[in-house]
């Protein structure tokens, strides 16, 4: 599987040798987004003890957009847009991580075993964020609105370079923090009581893991906008292919699968079929279909 992933990654750019740097940047963006989405979804699903929910279904991405919109609202569109990208992105990410950690540790702290309630709460929270974002946007004047509008739709097209490097850096940092937590994640997957019984500081780990998830979602949302169902698709594939409970294998596999899906998908769509932005649509279609199947089949573990 590793070999397959690398083959795809290395094979692709040599497909068309011209405009290599541009393609390399886009490739980097796709890999970062795919890896961030894949890893964050697997981590989140373990924390939530739920294979249907993903950070995006629970509105993490909307939370990010809400924070963005809220900042534009507070500071005024033009002056906000004039701010340098670096502190802006970091501020947005930080705020979002804080909000996600507080909110979701409250949600997951106790009684998280009731799957149906969790799904319901999750979807409602997601809708809440989305509506709040729309509401804030209504309050903005048109010029300010256009500032945030650009961020609202998933697009694998051109990406701002500074954001890309920032996001890549942040992503690497988060992965570095995540690596030592991969083994405790196996224990956390057993549930709160067994994990505490085995000496894992469950509540502290939970907050940290939610922060990590939030940061990864911020990375991918900032780069390409909201993509709802990619994570679900990737996490399901990772679990199906790896057939293990060990996160030291699951999380890298999910990151790899996410990157491969995006790179191969975008490559095929752009180069072979000559279509521009349909990858998001296709991924959402299959991801959404999978979501329905999983919900209808019910027996998800």
């Amino acid at each position: 599987m590793l070999a397959c992933g690398f083959f795809m990654l290395w094979g692709l750019p040599s497909f068309s040798p011209f405009i290599l740097t541009l393609r390399a940047e886009r490739l980097l963006a796709l890999v970062v987004v795919g890896a961030a989405v894949g890893a964050s979804t697997v981590v989140f699903q373990t924390v939530a003890a739920n294979r249907i929910l993903t950070p995006t279904i629970m509105g993490f991405d909307s939370l990010f957009l809400m924070v963005q919109t809220g900042l534009v609202f507070l500071f005024g569109g033009l002056s906000y847009a004039a701010l340098p990208v670096t502190p802006k992105f970091l501020l947005e990410t930080l705020l979002m991580m804080l909000a996600a950690m507080v909110l979701f540790s409250l949600l997951f702290g106790r009684g998280r075993r009731d799957m149906h309630r969790m799904i319901l709460v999750g979807v409602i929270v997601g809708i809440l964020f989305r509506s709040l974002t729309v509401f804030l946007q209504r309050l903005l004047d048109p010029s300010e609105f256009s500032v945030v509008q650009g961020a609202m739709f998933a697009s694998f097209g051109a990406v701002d370079l500074t954001t890309l490097y920032l996001a890549t850096g942040l992503c690497c940092l988060v992965f570095a923090v995540l690596v030592p937590m991969l083994r405790p994640l196996d224990v956390i997957a057993l549930g709160r009581s067994p994990a505490v019984g085995l000496g894992v500081s469950y509540d502290r780990a939970l907050v940290g893991l939610l922060g990590i998830t939030a940061a990864l979602v911020a990375v991918s949302t900032a780069l390409v906008g909201p993509i709802s169902f990619l994570g679900l698709l990737v996490a399901s594939l990772a679990h199906a292919l790896m057939r293990t409970h060990r996160h030291a294998l699951l999380v890298p596999a999910a990151a790899l699968i996410g990157a491969v899906i995006l790179v191969v998908g975008q490559g095929v769509f752009e180069r072979v079929l000559g279509l521009q932005s349909s990858l998001a649509v296709i991924v959402e279609f299959f991801g959404g279909l999978l979501f329905l199947i999983l919900v209808l089949r019910g027996a998800v573990r």
Partner: protein, 255 residues
């Protein structure tokens, strides 16, 4: 010794545990009995720091449960809860291997594998060891969770209704095992604190008995003192006869 001092536990306005002051001696196997809802699981969970302590204090051989790092407690005390459920798809051997987590923290060594093998053998699980947990019967699952607690190798072992779902053969085997580990070894063996409803198993295998009722300690003492017709009839509010079999009380509660 586990010392429980002034422990109260409320859920909403309901008083689940009322001013519990209790010492669990290092007597070998201690059984907690009492009617449904008496607060037995709550007490066990508080001792094992699975729920936060609201008032009072609990210490295990001098270590304060509230102040000692949870990783350190995990080497002194293991708990097998009344209800066990695992969300991820796990093989029996991997589950029992998690019992060794406090010692290896993710990297199993040879002594961990050995402990897992012993626990699997002790609970008759060797033939199931590579089966997935959700492909086992209820009693087999229960044995797997108890084996995980055993594999943890701690001085104190807390078992919340370990006989759940077990047939006669495995129930007796488990109690024999519990009795055995509380005897063996140089330091006087491992201490077991368990909630048991099947009163005759208590009569046959326990060294010390604590009876809870409506959140209070109703009785405590040696099995011969507690398992009397008068005491049990009061505890469970029903007519219970006690006779004797091979020097141990035999409780007739089913007719």
């Amino acid at each position: 010794m586990i010392s429980i001092r002034d422990v109260n536990h409320n859920i909403g306005s309901a008083r689940i545990l009322k001013d519990i002051n209790l010492d669990i001696p290092r007597a070998g196997a201690t059984a907690i009995i009492g009617p449904n809802g008496a607060g037995k699981s709550t007490l066990l969970n508080l001792v094992a720091r699975l729920q936060p302590l609201q008032t009072g204090s609990i210490s295990i051989d001098g270590q304060d449960v509230g102040k000692t790092p949870t990783a350190q407690i995990a080497k002194a005390l293991a708990i097998v809860s009344q209800q066990n459920f695992v969300a991820s798809r796990l093989r029996v051997r991997d589950l029992v291997g998690f019992g060794r987590w406090p010692h290896h923290r993710g990297r199993m060594g040879p002594e961990d594998h050995e402990a897992v093998d012993q626990a699997l053998a002790a609970f008759d699980l060797l033939s199931f060891q590579s089966r997935f947990l959700d492909e086992l019967s209820g009693g087999q699952q229960q044995r797997a969770f108890v084996a995980m607690g055993f594999a943890q190798g701690t001085d104190w072992l807390l078992l919340d209704e370990p006989l759940n779902n077990l047939d006669m053969f495995h129930a007796r085997a488990l109690m024999k095992r519990v009795h055995g580990v509380s005897r063996s070894g140089a330091a006087g063996g491992r201490q077991v604190l368990m909630v048991v409803h099947e009163i005759n198993y208590v009569a046959a295998w326990a060294d010390h008995v604590v009876a809870l009722r409506e959140g209070e300690v109703a009785l405590q003492g040696a099995p011969e003192e507690i398992l009397t017709s008068a005491a049990l009839s009061g505890l469970y509010e029903m007519d219970i006869q006690v006779s004797e079999h091979q020097g141990r009380p035999l409780v007739l509660h089913h007719v």
